[in-house]
Amino acid sequence: MKISAHINIKPLNIDLDRIAVEYGPFSMSFNFELEKLIRSIGVNGIINTPLLFDEAGEKLTIISGFRRIKAAESMGMTHLECRVLTPDNITPQECLALNFFENISTRQFNDIEKAMAINRLSAHLKNDEVKDEYLPLLGISPSKRNLELYKKIDSDLRDEIRMQLAKGKIPIKVIREMLEMDNETREELFKIIIGFGLNNNQQRNLIDFTRDLASIKGISLRDVIGRVAGEDIGCEHANLPQRARSLMKKLKGLRYPKLSESEARFSRQIKRLELPKEVRIGASPFFEEPYYHLEIMFKDGIELTRQLKVIYDAEGIENLGDPWLE
């Protein structure tokens, strides 16, 4: 049955108590804002009536209009005009497809919504069909690995982690890694991510460093992450980003001792020169290039001459050299 066939179904005034307002078998909405929708309903009413499914159960299941119904509920409405379909005129699979296409054509899905859609579609369709036809519609590369990942996101993650993923606070690559961990390790890692407010890049580095450290030290990832979680980074008065940077610096020092020591030594060398703030000396990433660079900010030739003289006279400048040689 095509959606156009449902337009002719006469809307009924439904008591909101009769509707199962929770994540049902067709829903794919998670972490949404109702403010704008409430204002729209306040001005225009509900233009597009929700579709419900009556399986002769105690409650009516939402096919589409989950947000509208939630908004109506929070506006204190008790009844709402809805179109009600029954198994005589639509199958559950068609209900799901209907809601999917209605949503995908009008808005972006967050990762949890994508996972919800994929898991629900997988209950009715073959894996290959979901992979090849639906993953690209969701902006996901069509692979078996991605299909399995999103199914696990929907089934294995607890709500607090799901919320962070939906908000984009944890990148999908990190979630993929978390899903491969045992529950305890995953929870410890989540605690670190939230506790230190790590950004996406720091989260990826955290996983990379801890995995490597586990291999180097011959201990389990759980042990490494457990130790990091209990780490005293010694900056009580620092704000969250500062604490995050301190943690990552400490971890980097453990993972890359020679490089970290060289970088620190180079910083000390430069600091000792006591150059003015308009003069900067830097190295290529990881000292891979044989050269260092000098940057001078100046307003005119007189100032440039003055800066050059300061550099020339800087005590110990001739000793500046490869910090990794010491």
């Binding site: 692979s143 078996k144 690995r145 995995r211 490597d212 291999s215 180097i216 993972r255 890359y256 001792p257 020679k258 490089l259 060289s262 990433p285 990881f286 000292f287 891979e288 290039e289 044989p290 990794w324 040689l325």
Partner: protein, 364 residues
């Protein structure tokens, strides 16, 4: 080794008429042989741990057979030429770059080689002023399946006749029977990849043991072949200095240094996407434990002082054995060359000239 490893053969549509197909199928009687359509073998390998190492896939290669080694940007490369006879490898080294070629599984053997070889040789002949250092061991092991493919039978006579080319057959095996049966020796180099005993036994799965490789090299040398060696990748691991010393001591025991054309040194490096694959396919590997940083070519490589320590150590100890072994660095910078080798070819042209010089010195 070959016949034990290969469990089935896929024959791609349109390849039965090649003579090489017939010869190969004659060698694998009794195995499961399947005819398949073009591109049918690109089955789903996504991060699966299998790479089809037990499946030989016979197909026609539609690209250029002889290509310059892609090398790497911003580092000095040697100007090597790759003769692309096959891709993928029955050996399963944890560090192998081929693991990232998952979209093309199986041991892909190009059965139109014989027909295309004429063009390759004509190209070499049309550039008499240039020395072609050609190898088949970049995208596969040159000898691991030689008893099935007959590559050495086909290639050695053609290259041995040419004054402006050498053919290097690079391996981690002891599959030298067909090579030894060949009456040709001139302009042919049989090479082995070497490592410490620890890395060899732990990270080079299905490869021959170190001692066996060196004994095979000894046999080849004694039978008149020039040999080469490649310490690539050098890997920092517990007791690495002692490990590499042991390998050098074994070389001293089995080999005549005068009949070694070159020994390359290259430290462990990898494209960033390979790390995840290695962790999945080889849990427990130690090859990723070092301090890797992103190099100027985007590949991960050891932090500079670590690379320098590796190269210096190898150079000092190899040169204690013999001062003229044709030592060179693979994909390194002018700075590293100068600081570790005592000289630098300055750029890729310089390194090419050095290695061409070794060819002239050894083969005339």
């Amino acid at each position: 080794m070959a016949k034990k490893v290969i469990k089935r053969v896929l024959v791609e549509d349109g390849t039965r008429h090649h003579e090489m197909t017939g010869r190969i199928l004659g060698q694998v009687e009794g195995l499961n042989i399947l005819d398949i359509g073009r591109d049918e073998a690109t089955f789903d390998m996504e991060h699966g741990c299998k790479m089809g190492k037990d499946t030989m896939h016979l197909l026609s290669y539609r690209g250029e057979f002889l290509k310059p080694c892609p090398g790497t940007k911003n580092y000095i490369c040697c100007g090597y030429q790759i003769l692309n006879v096959a891709t993928n490898c029955p050996i399963d080294c944890s560090y192998c770059i081929l693991q990232s070629y998952f979209n093309q599984p199986n041991l892909r053997v190009f059965v139109n080689l014989e027909e295309e070889l004429e063009g390759v040789l004509a190209f070499i002949d049309s550039n008499p002023q240039k020395i072609f250092r050609v190898g088949t061991g970049e995208f596969t092991d040159s000898l691991a399946i030689d008893s099935i493919t007959g590559w050495s039978d086909l290639l050695i006579p053609s290259f041995s006749k040419r004054k402006n080319a050498v053919l290097e057959l690079k391996t981690k095996t002891t599959e030298i029977r067909d090579v030894l049966d060949s009456p040709f020796r001139d302009r042919i180099i049989i090479s082995w990849s070497l490592n410490s005993p620890f890395i060899t036994s732990r990270e080079e799965h299905r490869a021959s043991g170190l001692k066996q490789r060196l004994k095979a090299a000894q046999i080849c040398q004694q039978d008149g072949y020039v040999v080469g060696f490649h310490f690539d990748p050098l890997i920092v691991h517990p007791g690495w200095k002692n490990g590499y010393l042991r390998t050098i001591e074994m070389m001293e025991k089995y080999l005549d240094p005068e009949r070694i054309i070159w020994i390359s040194l290259g430290s462990m490096r990898y494209i960033p996407s390979l790390k995840e694959i290695i962790r999945k396919r080889h849990p427990g590997t130690c090859i990723l434990d070092g301090e890797f940083v992103q190099g100027l070519d985007g590949k991960m490589r050891y932090f500079k002082p670590i690379r320098m320590e590796l190269y210096r150590f190898m150079r000092e100890n190899l040169e204690k054995w013999h001062p003229r072994l044709g030592l060179y660095l693979c994909m390194e910078s002018d700075e590293i060359w100068s600081r570790t080798m005592g000289w630098s070819p300055t750029d890729s042209d310089g390194l090419k000239a050095f290695l061409d010089g070794r060819v002239m010195e050894i083969f005339g």
